[in-house]
């Protein structure tokens, strides 16, 4: 008989649930004129939750159904930090007239997706994993459609939920095949039952496609651009870093742990997917003039780079993957932050031409954007250079020379389109640039943290060291 008190060991999940409930109660009972306390409360509570769970530990519960590795707890902390940053950035948008009355919902929905991701990364059983996945997906659709009176946002929400459900269906079908052939859904036990039979390969493909939807890998990326463009910018930011980070980590653990006997099959598949993802996303990104769409394609290609670490399939790869996610969170949130600030200030300007001559009027925002874009492109001395280098190194170490080379050539293409934005901001003259304005304080704080991350994460080697040590355990 299972000991029910075991549930108390799921510190991270429990405390996050507590935060969630507190926020829910606050949302219910706070009088209307006190509602501006919601955002600081959300940030403070999350910070407390983060600090309480900072220490990485290994927890196995319910006969292996719940298995939180130290690496997973580090990732949870990282995701939480990212979420706090998104909360800070969302502030201006949530104060607007049409969203003010429902800002509590934003926090609640976001926290529940975060909870889902927690379960995803620490699942030890496919059913728990699936629950986590769904919990992370369904509220996300509401978030995407948050500005429901805007056609774009509603459309994006519909697209997102349809493709998400479709992918969940495929995923579930894949799991059922695994259960049928291996006789179990515990991660621990499945490898013993895997023989590489055609049905299991099909199961692998289905499982993989399900997650590839979340990660928006080519050819499962078609929903991404529309969704990012239509969704409120803060939600796009959240979607692009947090949910992608969780999905990438989960994919890697499952491929390494559960599908270890079928490494040959999945690595072959992954090679093709990576090349397709990076190349196609990069080529499409060149043509985008809407920055949110542009960032959608950019993040698809970044997902391709993250997959390189998965491909490596080694502890070194795991460390590089998490490191890449951290750096990516800092850089991508900085870009989205700037886009968000300008969009809110100008009531919806997100075209590249709107950024022409931005340096003259808003030098600080421009610098933040430039640094972040350079980091995304992998230019030293910014953190993105290090994370890219380590990912390449991991993949190279596992012998994928050609793939690394193709990815490298693609970084040149990506540099081109990142530079296009830099060019717009610095070089292209403009008669009517976006006027000078002061960004809101929460946004400033979040941008400051991001920029610090971009600088510090690379120069200080401690973080990578920690990840590496954890991965080696």
């Amino acid at each position: 008989m299972m000991d029910i008190t075991a549930i108390l060991h799921m510190h991270a999940e429990l405390s996050l649930t507590a935060v969630f409930i507190l926020m829910f109660l606050l949302d219910l009972f706070l009088p209307a004129q006190q509602r501006h306390w919601l955002r600081p409360m959300a940030c403070i509570l999350l910070t407390i939750q983060l600090l309480a769970n900072l220490w990485p530990e290994e927890v196995i519960l319910f006969g292996g159904m719940y298995h939180s590795t130290p690496m997973a707890s580090i990732l949870k902390s990282i995701l939480t930090i990212g979420t706090i940053l998104v909360f800070l950035q969302a502030d201006t948008w949530l104060r607007r007239g049409d969203t003010r009355h429902k800002q509590g919902e934003f926090y609640i929905l976001t926290l529940s997706t975060l909870l889902g991701m927690y379960f995803m990364v620490s699942a030890g059983h496919f059913l728990l994993f699936f629950l986590g996945l769904e919990l992370a997906t369904v509220p996300m659709a509401c978030l995407v459609a948050f500005d429901k009176y805007k056609g774009h946002s509603a459309e994006a929400g519909a697209k997102f939920i349809l493709s998400a459900l479709f992918s969940s269906g495929i995923f579930l079908y894949g799991i059922s095949m695994i259960y049928g052939t291996a006789g179990t859904l515990y991660f621990e036990d499945i490898p013993a039952g895997l023989t590489g039979s055609p049905l299991q390969i099909l199961a692998l493909v289905f499982f993989f496609s399900g997650l590839a939807f979340k990660l928006s890998l080519v050819p499962f990326h078609l929903w991404t651009a529309d969704t990012y463009q239509g969704a409120p910018t803060s939600v796009s930011a959240y979607l692009s870093v947090i949910s992608k980070g969780a999905a990438a980590f989960a994919l890697m653990t499952i491929l390494m742990k559960v599908f270890a006997p079928m490494t040959e099959q999945w690595s072959e598949m992954l090679c093709i997917i990576i090349v397709a993802t990076i190349t196609i996303a990069n080529l499409f990104a060149i043509r985008q003039s809407n920055l949110k769409r542009f960032m959608a394609f950019s993040s698809i290609s970044q997902a391709g780079y993250i997959m390189l670490a998965v491909l490596a399939g080694t502890p070194q790869g795991m460390a590089s993957l998490v490191y890449y996610i951290v750096v990516y969170i800092a850089a991508n949130l900085a870009v989205f932050g700037v886009i968000n600030a300008i969009e809110q200030h100008t009531h919806g300007k997100v075209e590249r031409e709107d950024y022409n001559g931005l340096y003259k009027t808003n030098p600080k925002l421009t610098m933040v954007m430039t640094l972040a874009l350079f980091s995304l492109a992998g230019i030293p001395p910014f953190a993105g250079f290090f994370s890219k280098f380590f990912v390449f190194m991991a993949a190279f170490h596992s012998g994928y020379y050609i793939i690394v080379f193709i990815a490298l050539v693609n970084t040149i293409i990506s540099l081109y389109y990142y530079l296009l934005i830099v060019k717009a901001m610095f070089i292209t003259p403009n008669d009517k640039p976006v006027g000078n304005f002061r960004t809101a304080t929460p946004m400033r704080i979040s941008l400051l943290i991001c920029v610090a991350g971009i600088f510090v994460l690379g120069i200080l080697s401690g973080i990578y060291q920690l990840l590496n040590d954890t991965a080696m355990l």
Binding site: Q316, A319, F374, I379, P380, P381, F385, F389, F390, F392, M393, F396, H397, Y401, V404, F405, L408, V409, T411, I412, L415, Y416, L419, V422, K423, F426, I427, S461, Y464, Q465, N468, D469
Partner: protein, 480 residues
């Protein structure tokens, strides 16, 4: 220094900080050189001196390790001279002065870091640090088709660095994946097949920056569009990164690869030299002429390195120095002339000797150094290269050498043509008569560079000794 630049508000402060910083840098390099020679004479035998190493990313064996030998000392000296004079050459640069010098300084940081690194990772990192400021420097402060040129330059060089990165990973894992330190890898043996694959990658990667044919096309556009000081730094120092890297990384670490691929690249460099010179003949834009001339001279550097004799490699390093100095001088003068006449078209200028004698005399000296007049630096370098190259006694190398020597003649053609056309002859545009000669900041830059060019030409031996002692270990690695 970057920090103090951030802090400074007004234009004058920026200039002050920049001059102070550049002077300190120059003083430090001179001190380093003297110290280095002193230590060598005192009998220090290490391959590198002033080494220091800090572990950075332990799991990946990445260290931040630095050290210098004769070659890097020479390069550092060159870089600091050019940064110093470049500061003066961009004295009057107007819009966004502070940002300009910030990026300029970042560029120099990259260059200096590259020359002192002895760790593959940090070396590569500094290499890229040196590349990216170019985009903004050319894009924002350039002239002509600047956006196109900046993008082309950045993408091509970054393309080169993609080759490099994969090559570096190849070397690292080929040598056992235990160390990224150049000196330690040199002691290990990289498997034959690995060398065959990764040597050309590294050589091409650096070769792009060294304007190796057919990857030189970024150079004329880039140089022509860049602001003066950036052209100076770029042609004078950045292109040398290519040669230095080819020598230090590709040839030093993968001698077998060099033996296998040497002939192929030798043909390419020969084409570079001759083709660059011929292209310079037909250009009408002063900067384009000089840019193609740089392609030709930098090709000569790679050519001499591939000849793989001690003399030719010493010559190659001398050529880097000499070309760095004189091309910087050239670009500085062109920038100053352009600042007055607002044209760089050879056909629209004439008789400048009477109008601005100081600049014109400087131009003549630069030209003579370029075509290898004895007494100036170009002669010393080219002489050493050709003598060294001819020491190879097989037909292939000799034919290549002979073909390459024709470039001297072609160089004379385009240099003398330009000098004759714009400095002497009739004044083409009467407007030009109103123009003035150099101001004091420009004089500082020009005189400083001329002194160096002449100094290297008149007293080359201390420098060539310095270099050739350090070339020795690399050459012996190559010949084994």
């Amino acid at each position: 220094m970057l920090a103090s630049l951030w802090a400074s508000r007004s234009v004058n402060q920026v200039r002050g900080v920049m001059v102070a910083g550049a002077s300190i840098l120059l003083a430090l390099s001179v001190y380093l050189t003297i110290d280095y020679i002193g230590l060598r004479q005192a009998g220090a035998t290490g391959e590198m001196l002033f080494t220091a190493s800090t572990v950075w990313y332990a799991p990946l064996h990445i260290c931040y390790s630095v050290g210098v030998d004769g070659i890097s000392v020479a390069m550092l000296l060159l870089s600091s001279i050019i940064v110093f004079t470049g500061t003066f050459a961009s004295w009057k640069l107007q819009p966004l002065t502070k940002e300009y010098f910030l990026w300029f300084t970042l560029l120099s940081v990259g260059v200096f870091g590259f020359f002192i690194s002895t760790d593959l990772f940090t070396m590569f990192m500094f290499y890229e640090v040196a590349l990216i400021p170019m985009y903004l420097l050319i894009g924002v402060w350039g002239s002509g088709r600047k956006e196109y040129a900046a993008m082309k330059l950045t993408l091509m060089l970054m393309g080169g660095s993609a080759f490099l990165l994969i090559g570096i990973l190849g070397i690292f894992y080929g040598a056992g994946g235990e160390t990224m330190n150049l000196l330690e890898i040199a002691k290990l043996h990289i498997p034959h097949e690995m060398q065959r694959i990764f040597f050309p990658l590294i050589f091409l990667g650096f070769g792009v920056l060294g304007a190796l044919f057919p990857f030189h096309t970024w150079s004329p556009d880039g140089h022509a569009s860049a602001p003066t000081a950036v052209s100076m730094l770029h042609a004078g120092v950045l292109m040398k990164l290519g040669g230095y890297g080819c020598f230090r990384v590709a040839m030093y670490l993968m001698p077998e690869g060099a033996a296998m691929w040497g002939d192929v690249f030798l043909i390419l460099t020969t084409i570079s030299v001759v083709y660059g010179a011929f292209s310079a003949v037909v250009q009408t834009d002063l900067k384009y002429i000089n840019a193609y001339s740089s392609v030709s001279h930098c090709g000569l550097v790679l050519f001499a390195l591939l000849m793989m004799t001690r003399t030719s490699c010493t010559g190659a390093i001398l050529q880097m120095l000499s070309h760095g100095l004189m091309t910087a001088l050239f670009f500085a003068l062109i920038g100053m002339i352009y600042g007055r006449t607002h044209t760089r078209d050879v056909r629209l200028m004439g008789g400048l000797m009477k109008i601005m004698p100081f600049l014109a005399v400087g131009y003549v000296i630069a030209g003579l150094a370029n075509l290898g007049l004895p007494g100036l630096s170009g002669f010393v370098a080219e002489m050493t290269i050709f003598v060294g190259s001819f020491q190879n006694d097989d037909t292939f190398h000799r034919v290549c050498t002979l073909v390459t020597t024709t470039s001297i003649v072609i160089t004379a053609v385009y240099i003398l043509r330009v000098v004759g056309k714009i400095l002497y002859g009739k004044v083409v545009n009467p407007e030009h008569l109103k123009l003035t000669d150099a101001t004091w900041d420009e004089r500082v830059a020009v005189i400083c560079l001329i002194a160096c060019v002449a100094g290297l030409g008149l007293a080359p031996f201390w420098m060539s000794d310095l270099i050739s002692n350090s070339v020795e270990p690399i050459i012996s690695q190559l010949l084994n």
